[in-house]
Symmetry: C2
Subunit: 104 residues, 2 copies
Amino acid sequence: MKLNNVFVHQVYFWLKNEADQAKLIEGINTLAAIKGLKQIHIGVTANTPREVVDNTYHASLLTIFDNKEAHDVYQDDPIHHEFLANYVKPLVAKVVVMDSVDPN
Amino acid sequence: MKLNNVFVHQVYFWLKNEADQAKLIEGINTLAAIKGLKQIHIGVTANTPREVVDNTYHASLLTIFDNKEAHDVYQDDPIHHEFLANYVKPLVAKVVVMDSVDPN
């Protein structure tokens, strides 16, 4: 199925301490309760052994919204703010986000 | 909807020449015909103005499969090989892939 007219918000997390992986994933799971999410996948690297693959991150979050407005509402949801304060700030060393929309 | 038991293959492309963006996207679109794809999104950066967001890539490809085996079949599909030879090799300077699976 080809997804059209969506806002794809992809996040990759690198921990300060690898031992906190399960705790971070627990935190990412709290985000699934936010309204307006069309789809969510919480993941870890598949460790695909290819040169172009980045297997260094400790957790990934894929979220799909109907549009940028729904994404913006998610960013400002109290659950998201709690996640940032309770999990990202204390545990995460680096975050990379890729936000993608349909080409014109 | 929470996605479980899937293989998420996320690809980001940086062009040698920005002028080739439409041509690369045309090429990425050919991949949608490959069997075994559960979902596919072809995108460009949303240019979200936040420090943690990487807006430098020229095209993105999100593909979701039922499992690693379906992803491996996709990688070896003739359409994928043609895409690599006709679009990636001549046009693309850098590719970064993130392959994610459910946490254990």
